[in-house]
Amino acid sequence: MDKPGIIIISHVYEIAKGIERLLQEVARDVPIQVIGGVDKTNIGTSFDTIFEMVSESPSTNILAFYDLGSAKMNLEMVQDLSDKNITIYNVPVVEGAYTAAALLQAGVTKEDVEEQLKEIQMDK
């Protein structure tokens, strides 16, 4: 499925699930998948769980958001080892993912979403 989908990787389970709720409210037709924590109780990120989610995702065109740098490194390794087309954005995880979700729901293309996200890029 080439329709763009969003994935969120957070160090904390609740942050990921919370962002999922926030986005679903304004982007019900956009595929959104989240992973938070190495599991529900432990803070951190896991290559394995991210790789599994990406592999099982119906989306082949993925916009990825993360909170802290170690999540990004795991995402990049998944990017290297997966066949899926994954783009990682260095933007605030809540505000950036929200922007992308709202724009995708409004029918904006992935390329135009990226133009908007450039405006909120940050050093992460």
Partner: protein
């Protein structure tokens, strides 16, 4: 416009009726350019306003405005909560300063508060795009139902610069702003409250 306690209560009752009738429409407007809750927010807020009026029996226009201020602030939810709360707070402030103030001066105080709170300018596609022409028309003694309708329609081609609608940028063009619509209902009810 002559506003007093009785007219004010009538105003709130009419506004509540219109909000309840238009609840689904407000939610619809808040869907392509928002989070689909403006109808619920305003419905909840105004239902609480009517309940508070019945429970507290405000005995002056100032007391009514104070009740509306705190109820809308607390019960509306969403951006329109602090915005309508600020609006009525601003109106109350003018009246407390001088209780002989003309009503257009009072509404101007409300508009100033909305803009101070939300930082929106005319043209940003918000409730300000109804408040500003309405207050101006009232100042010129030219406020009619048509002025209000046209103000709300005029939000359609605008690109949103504030609120959740601003996140979809150009895609907000072509949609009426929900907060502008509820403000239009507010002012339509205000005119109707004097017409009886």
């Amino acid at each position: 416009m002559n506003m007093d306690l009785q007219t004010g209560i009538r105003w709130m009752e009419l506004f509540n009726e219109d909000i309840q009738q238009n609840k689904d429409y407000l939610t619809q407007l808040d869907t392509p350019i928002g989070d689909s809750d403006h109808g619920n927010n305003m419905s909840r807020g105004m239902d609480q306003v009517i309940q508070a009026i019945e429970a507290e029996s405000p005995d002056s226009l100032e007391a009514l405005l104070k009740l509306v201020t705190s109820t809308l602030l607390s019960k509306v939810g969403g951006a329109s909560g602090p915005l309508y709360g600020s609006a009525f707070m601003g109106m109350l402030k003018i009246l407390k300063g001088d209780n002989t103030s003309s009503w257009d001066k009072v509404l101007r105080g409300g508009l100033d508060s909305i803009q101070k709170r939300g930082k929106a300018e005319v043209g940003d596609k918000t409730m300000v795009d109804v408040w500003a022409p309405v207050v101006k028309s009232l100042e010129n003694k030219q406020l009619t139902h048509v002025v209000i309708e046209e103000a709300v329609e005029a939000t359609k081609p605008l690109k949103a610069k504030k609120g959740r609608a601003s996140y979809v940028g150009d895609r907000s063009i072509g949609h009426i702003d929900p907060g502008a619509y509820s403000s239009a209902l507010l002012f339509q009810a205000m005119l109707k409250s004097e017409e009886k």
